[in-house]
């Protein structure tokens, strides 16, 4: 209850919760199983736990925490690729802070730094490019990750490097796209999610049209949502209203930021710089065809994999961890045997424990170890 007081409008929050409860009651009269709604984005997962929204839901409504945290789905092998490059002579390897803590096979990038590699945290790919300008005798590599939210920023940085003819800058590209992964999840026969809360800032770039297949082919509603607790409650209500009415449509609750057509300049940058990477690995989910981005041949001089002739590492996920089952909504974090035992925010073995947007880290922080859902 105390969380609700922090809302922009506590009365509205209570009113939304009451409406959710009414719709849930009506749905519950016609179906035995609970309704599962997946929030795709890690930012939404964080808001849900931070404000205890999951604890305020009726008994027959559940959140499943989806795969939309790019740090959480970083495969171990890719971390090893980054570490291998970081140990090359003369290299400065840069990346976002969260990515530095993700465990690979031989440790994290932070541990590689402790072992002597020059690994630096940057806030922006622009800062990595600035490092390259300031250190012309060094090779500066940006380990680029994220969904369509951050893919344009890396693309525009590559175009800038090209325009300025900066030859000591390259990227290790681990940008991924959410649509093929949602399709792969929906094609799994035991995937029992009834509707989606769609990512806000991915949609800010790609718009709402790419989700149409979810409604048309898979008959699930999807509502693009903002990041405030009220946004999430309102979006959940919109999903439940559709489920009650037997509808499956794409709706946009976050119209104040998300235009139906997305951001044309950002999409143009993505299209100009990247092409689809056929085989792309996700931690916990395995290979998902067509879900990655790589530099087009035209920009291959900025491709760190080529520049350093890296043979990509492929490493199995941590056996003990059930990251994949959590990511697909099959289990809640405490049902994983490693949760809170061998895997905690201070010593993460699965990546869902690393980022504050990961379901396991959020669960650990706000529910503790001993508490089941």
């Amino acid at each position: 209850m105390q969380f609700v007081k922090e809302f922009r409008n506590p009365h509205l929050a209570e009113a939304l919760l009451a409406q959710i409860s009414h719709v849930a009651g009506r749905i519950g009269r016609t179906r035995k199983h609970p309704v599962t709604v997946m929030e795709v984005c890690g930012g939404h997962t964080h808001t849900i736990f931070r404000y205890g929204l999951d604890r305020r839901l009726p008994a027959n409504i559940e959140f499943a925490h989806g795969p939309g945290c790019p740090v959480c789905v970083l495969p171990k092998g890719r971390i090893e690729d980054a570490i291998a490059i970081a140990h090359r002579p003369g290299v400065i390897l840069t990346t976002f802070g969260d990515a530095m803590r993700v465990p690979g096979g031989s440790g994290s990038l932070l541990q590689a730094r402790a072992a002597g590699a020059d690994v630096r945290m940057v806030y922006s790919p622009l800062d990595a490019l600035a490092l390259a300008r300031a250190n012309p005798e060094r090779q500066v590599v940006f380990f680029a990750l994220g969904f369509e939210t951050t893919a344009p920023s890396t693309a525009l940085t590559v175009l800038r490097a090209s325009a300025e003819n900066i030859s000591n800058f390259s990227i290790l590209c681990q940008h991924i796209t959410i649509i093929p992964t949602l399709r792969a999840l929906l094609e799994q026969p035991d995937f029992n999610v009834d509707g989606f809360i769609g990512p806000g800032h991915v949609s800010m770039v790609i718009g709402t049209q790419p989700y149409a297949f979810i409604a048309q082919d898979f008959k699930r509603p999807l509502v693009v949502a903002g990041f405030e607790p009220l946004d999430i409650l309102q979006s959940l209500l919109m999903v439940l209203n559709q489920i009650e009415a037997g509808d499956a449509r794409v709706e946009n609750q976050y119209a104040r930021v998300v235009a139906p057509q997305g951001n044309p300049a950002a999409m143009a940058a993505i299209g100009r710089v990247y092409e689809v990477r056929e085989a792309c690995e996700w931690r916990g989910l395995g290979q998902i065809a067509g879900s990655g981005l790589q530099l087009r041949a035209e920009w291959s001089r900025f491709d760190a994999e080529k520049r350093f002739a890296i043979l990509p590492h492929h490493l199995a996920d941590q056996e003990q961890c059930c990251c994949g089952d959590v990511l697909t909504g099959r289990i809640k974090p405490p049902q994983c045997p490693a949760f809170g035992q061998t895997c905690s925010p201070d010593h993460p073995s699965g990546a869902l424990m690393v980022s504050s947007e990961g379901a396991c880290a959020a669960y650990y922080e706000y529910h503790g170890v001993g508490e089941a859902a």
Binding site: Y123, A134, S153, N263, A269
Partner: protein
């Protein structure tokens, strides 16, 4: 990385390179404004505009009330300080 942080554009740094200065809760930094610029219009019209900044790129225009509310929310989620630290501590030289 994914949440984005609201800032107000205070000056155009380089019209050609599409770079502007943004004030994010008192921290100033250069951001790329290509994705929020109106094609064909001078960048000067962006001064004073609030934008959502993702990893150094303005990705969406937002209104001021929305920006203030988002900043308040980020602060209450303990996300604001982390983002500002990441901006301040970013390696650049």
């Amino acid at each position: 990385m994914c949440l984005g942080i609201p800032g107000r554009i205070t000056a155009i740094v380089d019209e050609q390179a599409m770079l502007a200065e943004v004030d994010v809760s008192g921290v100033r930094r250069q951001v790329d404004v290509l994705c929020v610029a109106e094609p064909g219009k001078p960048l000067a019209e962006l001064v004073g505009v609030w934008v959502l900044v993702h990893v150094g790129f303005a990705m969406s225009r937002i209104d001021e009330a929305e920006a203030q509310e988002t900043l308040r929310l980020l602060a209450s989620m303990d996300e604001l300080a982390g983002e500002l630290d990441a901006m301040r501590n970013s390696a650049r030289v």
